[in-house]
Assembly symmetry: C2
Homo-oligomer: 453 residues x 2
């Protein structure tokens, strides 16, 4: 394995950044429904970075339908940071680029580093990583793995986190793990990385459907299952029981409340579910409530129920506090909510320092495709462990991608081999589902399946 340096990279000339609003009508089947998001239409803002040399970078951020157009507008407001510059001018000081795009002096007021503007940053930055992988002709997980520690550090903006981790500490972590890279890489290529499924227990599903899905995913080799809770306690007890009946007690069961509870309600509710041997309670309350999660974590410790959160954690500053406060046991980064790969790297590294396991959120459009790369890098270079670590898997929209995430016969993510970040959609996915002009949307408007807003 040869370490590369961006100074040796082929330098491309970025011409334009193009962005699209793409939506799938998933609300029609209650797929992805939970206590807070009752009717999601899985969607994304899809970014294409064009170069004069013809190589393209694709990136995205996941959304739930309405509001995708707002994030799209934010992407367009930021595209001037990318257009008409060389790739070298970005990758040779990627942290500086990241600071520029997140700290634009007028735009930052409507963030900063959170919500719409940060989702927009994620889509753009993810496209830049896809492009970088293509320049080096490797998948992003190998791009990260094969980087020298100093180069990897140069991509991270340490603003606001130096009280938790410094560049020197990161270089230390990466250097120490260097000897493991080769065997860990080979292991990934041979065996892949463990996945768990959320597919068995969306709130909108019937009992029969839940049972048959449990059977299906057991047959597929899954050993960890997650269901949604929080709308009705009796129903939650019934569904936990039902799933335990199907999957037994040797497999792992997790529950997800999607932020429905106040702090004390979370504790009381979970005490009623304590006998189901739950590995974690996910998003018990507001994603912003570090101290609330800390209180819940302390209360549930005696039941061996861990607290998990992170898919809607808005940036590295919040993650830092969750880790500093010992408020979570499982850190669920999302590949498209915080500001793209660069910021997520810092979260993995802080989690390593604080001894917390990263179990990424995935399942939305492109989230599985992207986050598998990051978690595989964690395995080769950061935690170097699969112990109680796994990546969420939801079997939706993968067929829309040119290089979809693949689950192998052991219910593991297969290591991606195509250069880039696995973010390119098939051309027909774009032409059918671009909103509102795509052919499928036009058909659904005409047939009055959906109303054009």
């Amino acid at each position: 394995m040869m370490a590369q340096s961006s100074a040796n990279d082929k330098c491309l000339n970025i011409t334009t950044l193009d962005a699209k609003d793409i939506r799938w009508p998933t609300s029609l089947g209650a797929h992805g429904s939970d206590a807070m998001h009752t009717d999601p239409d899985y969607s994304c803002v899809y970014v294409t970075i064009h170069t004069a040399e013809g190589i393209r970078g694709y990136g995205m951020t996941f959304t739930l339908g309405r509001g995708t157009d707002i994030v799209l507008m934010a992407v367009k407001a930021m595209k001037r940071f990318v257009e008409n510059r060389t790739t070298a001018s970005i990758y040779q000081n990627f942290a500086k680029f990241w600071r520029e795009i997140t700290s634009e002096s007028q735009l930052r007021w409507i963030g900063p580093e959170k919500g719409v503007t940060h989702l927009a940053v994620a889509a753009i930055v993810n496209a830049l990583w896809d492009l970088w992988g293509k320049i080096r002709a490797v998948p992003v997980w190998r791009l990260l793995t094969e980087m020298e520690p100093e180069e990897l550090v140069s991509t991270i903006d340490f603003r606001y986190i130096t009280d938790a981790i410094t560049p020197e500490e990161v270089i230390d972590i990466l250097r120490k793990n260097k000897t493991l890279r080769k065997t860990k890489t080979e292991d990934l290529i041979e065996n892949g990385y463990p996945a768990y499924t959320t597919q068995v227990g969306w709130l909108g599903y019937s009992d029969d459907l839940i049972r048959s899905l449990c059977k299906k995913y057991l047959r597929a080799g899954f050993t960890a299952f997650k269901i949604k809770v929080g709308q009705d306690l009796e129903n939650d007890i019934k569904r936990c029981k039902l799933v335990r009946e199907e999957i037994g007690w040797d497999n792992k069961l997790m529950v997800d409340a999607n932020q429905i509870w106040d702090v004390n309600t979370a504790i009381e509710w979970m005490e009623k579910l304590k006998d189901f041997q739950l590995l974690w309670i996910e998003e018990p309350t507001s994603p912003d409530d570090v101290l609330g999660h800390k209180k819940i974590a302390e209360a549930l410790k005696k039941y061996n129920i861990g607290v998990a959160t992170g898919e809607m954690c808005c940036n590295r500053v919040l993650f830092k506090q969750f880790l500093q406060a010992n408020a979570l046991e499982f850190c669920q980064i999302d590949s498209a909510r915080i500001g793209g790969v660069n910021e997520i790297l810092s979260v993995y590294l802080m989690a390593k320092k604080f001894g917390v396991k990263v179990c990424p959120h995935a399942g939305g459009v492109g989230l599985c495709e992207m986050v598998q790369h990051l978690q595989m890098w964690d395995y080769t270079s950061v935690s170097c462990s699969k112990q109680e670590r796994m990546v969420e898997f939801v079997d939706q929209q993968h067929e829309q991608f040119l290089h979809p995430a693949v689950i192998n016969e052991n219910a593991c993510y297969a290591a991606p081999t195509a250069p880039g970040y696995s973010t390119e959609l098939k051309p027909e996915a774009v032409s059918m589902f671009e909103y509102p002009g795509g052919s499928e949307w036009q058909r659904m408007f005409a047939e009055e399946i959906f109303k054009n807003e």
Copy 2:
């Protein structure tokens, strides 16, 4: 003083919600410049709620120029919650309305309750309070003051804060203070509410300008002054010295770093300014960093420098934690960042419970106009004290308002008398500064003072 109830309110029929992007070219004079926002164009999204009866509600959220169009789009995505319904259906369960608009099942993904979408909520909700004041023919500070505790509580969504404060505790606070309302109201009408000025020390200003502004504001009766710091330590020392020379040591001096530092840098930098007898350091680091502020507050305690933050604190959940962690001494709510009056009331009430002084942020377009109402309600009904409490005042854009904030001869905000929330712009302000079509913008584009993006 007769308490009213929404059941007796005249019920209006809301027809449409109209929203506009309005910007002033303040970057031309370096007005409002600080360490992070070097070239702001003071702007707002301006909401007008029309009723069949002809009464209108006006509301706004403050922005810095670019990005105002993004917030505008978010307002438009939410206007269906307001259009074609009666005012009674909103005010009789205002907390429920607030929950609906902040928890829209697809839009909440791109927040939740933060950044662009929450600024949009603020603009809409603020317009509804202006309309409510007009229905009762009182300024909003009196609307709040004259409400029965139970009715006031019914406007607040307690989700995620019941571990810090309950509706019952709020009713208790308000009931206990009821006897003070009359004298406090009379005091406000006679004397107004203390203001402080930030006008003397924007980073872009020259020494001579700073000196002459100190003299001007001293003459105007001001006793508290705030300057920007954080770009250059030597320069900060020089400017603190310069201002102290002008204002002496009996007047209050505060400094504002606008989030420029990491946690440890903040502590080290402020140690160098410890001899200037500073009342507070404002926004020393990321607005999201509760634990970081706590560490800074503890380190600066021995110098009697308080920590202040809040203008970019994204919602009540963050404020709750700042208060629970004892991470600030001065709570600087902003009238247009978190979700409008309803959510801000909950922050005032939590601050009361935790014994923290509220000193609101103001100065942006409409912020002084709005926040004076809230702080006056705090005085009549919540803290009932002016002790070490004051409202920021910046003398910009007030002439654009029909009922501008007025500073009296004692450098106090005069109690507003016009019905509503003081949020209505003059018609010519809208026609001149609407972006990009307003007459002033068209002139500036033609004269190439600004480029039309």
